[in-house]
Symmetry: C2
Subunit: 248 residues, 2 copies
DNA sequence: TATGACACTTGATCCATGTCATTGAATGGG
DNA sequence: CCCATTCAATGACATGGATCAAGTGTCATA
């Protein structure tokens, strides 16, 4: 089952509506009534395609609204003056990014495509206006913001308290569950990002990522071939992060 | 000039309104008209006092609303199963916390007082309802959420890419500027948190915090006496973080 | 003043990761 | 198809901080 729209020509993509989008139940429209969805729909800028490695925005750019990934993938990151990137998040189809512009109406980080990528833009002014009459949309947006914040918090726990082994295991499990959520295999998938980006997300060196992948393979936990990942032993992977999850 | 309300008896505190609160221009009411502020005011639960080391909420607790610190200080944190705390943020008077409950109407982290502390509660349901008719409040809340998110992002950059020296320097500058914002000295202040908590925030060991404080003193950058901090050379401190700030 | 609990400091040691250098594998352009 | 370039893997080595183990200062209580 081909779920993304990679190979549909641009002319057709322009007609895509939230209602017909296979990702709509993962994205902002989730929980809205049909009527509400249609109303929202009118204000969404429809997706365009971008090559790999395109800058979508950078610090200082005017904040337009939220971005929803349709296909491909996006990384958001901050940089040190010396050039090192701290990846803040990877954004896969159905996921939203760009919230870093909310504070000052200016983007605060970089957003770059990982791959051939298309996305929708949900203009903030329109969303804000719709919020006045659509309590469900208000709640959905708050839910989204809360979710992003909680993801960042988990990421802080990872960077502050986890070993390199634990970080990589956590990362693989996160990607796996996000593929699963979209209806794809949780155990066999292609990583959309480079080793460099993985290292930047996990706060470790590229070489360490390589060595850890090797070590995971030797323990028969995963099989790695370039970007292709096959998780052989989900149990062991879960064990590795058993001490990392905060108590509920 | 005594700006906080620590020593005013509870009976008087109950009469405190946003309008008369010296922190209101740092807190959620900022930017609201007098009329709007009064309307908001009616729904705010007025502060109570708590001892040091009181748990305000913990993961799983029902999300009531946003918390605004009036006096004292609060830390929010996640824990590993093995007990290590990753401090997510320190919250000083005029600052808001508790947003971690937005995703699922349940708090996701712990919030604990650092000191004798009082705070206000802004019930979420009331805020949400007011948002329908008060666009300024909507914007103020979005601004707040965006700000929190950007703070978390800076914190991610710190944990992922900065050396221990840089982390501590960044930390001191952050506390300093937040004291200044409230009208206090930017160069002489008492840290409201323990070494252990500083270590937990910076993702380093307590021993490293001690050693770095010593090293900073030997370079005549600061003078440290237990919790009392005097910044002697703000220039040097800024130099230490010169490479850490993301480009604008 | 004595006593215990706790927070902080300090020193010695060790190791998980970073850094540097090299090689090999994949990819893209002409 | 070849060459140039980027990306990934691997080995050798270095080191920033963690860990472990005392020691010291501070505060509360009796």
């Amino acid at each position: 089952m081909q779920k993304n729209m990679n190979h549909i020509p641009l002319s057709k993509q322009l007609k895509i509506s939230c209602e017909s989008c296979s990702l709509s139940d993962l994205c902002l429209p989730r929980g809205l009534s049909l009527k509400e969805m249609e109303e929202l729909d009118d204000h969404i800028e429809r997706p365009r395609n971008f090559d790999q490695n395109c800058q979508i925005y950078q610090p200082g750019d005017k904040f337009i609204g939220f971005y929803a990934v349709r296909s491909g993938g996006v990384k958001t990151y901050l940089t040190k003056k010396t050039g090192e990137q701290q990846i803040l998040g990877f954004h896969l189809p159905g996921e939203v990014f760009g919230l870093d512009g909310l504070e000052n109406s200016k983007q605060r980080c970089y957003a770059t495509t990982l791959d051939n990528t298309s996305y929708c833009i949900l203009p903030y002014e329109k969303l804000d206006a719709l919020c006045e009459t659509m309590p469900e949309l208000r709640h959905q947006i708050c839910h989204l913001l809360g979710h992003e914040m909680n993801c960042d918090h988990s990421h802080l726990l990872l960077l502050g308290q986890q070993t390199a082994h634990e970080r990589l295991a956590t990362f693989l499990l996160s990607i796996s569950s996000r593929f699963k959520r979209r209806g794809f295999s949780a155990t066999s998938f292609m990583l959309p990002m480079s080793r460099h980006d993985i290292a930047g997300y996990l706060g470790i060196a590229v070489e360490t990522v390589s060595r850890l992948f090797k070590s995971f393979q030797e323990k028969d936990i995963v099989k790695i071939n370039r970007k292709q990942v096959d998780i052989l032993d989900m149990g062991k992977l879960n064990e590795m992060v058993a001490n990392c999850e905060e108590t509920d």
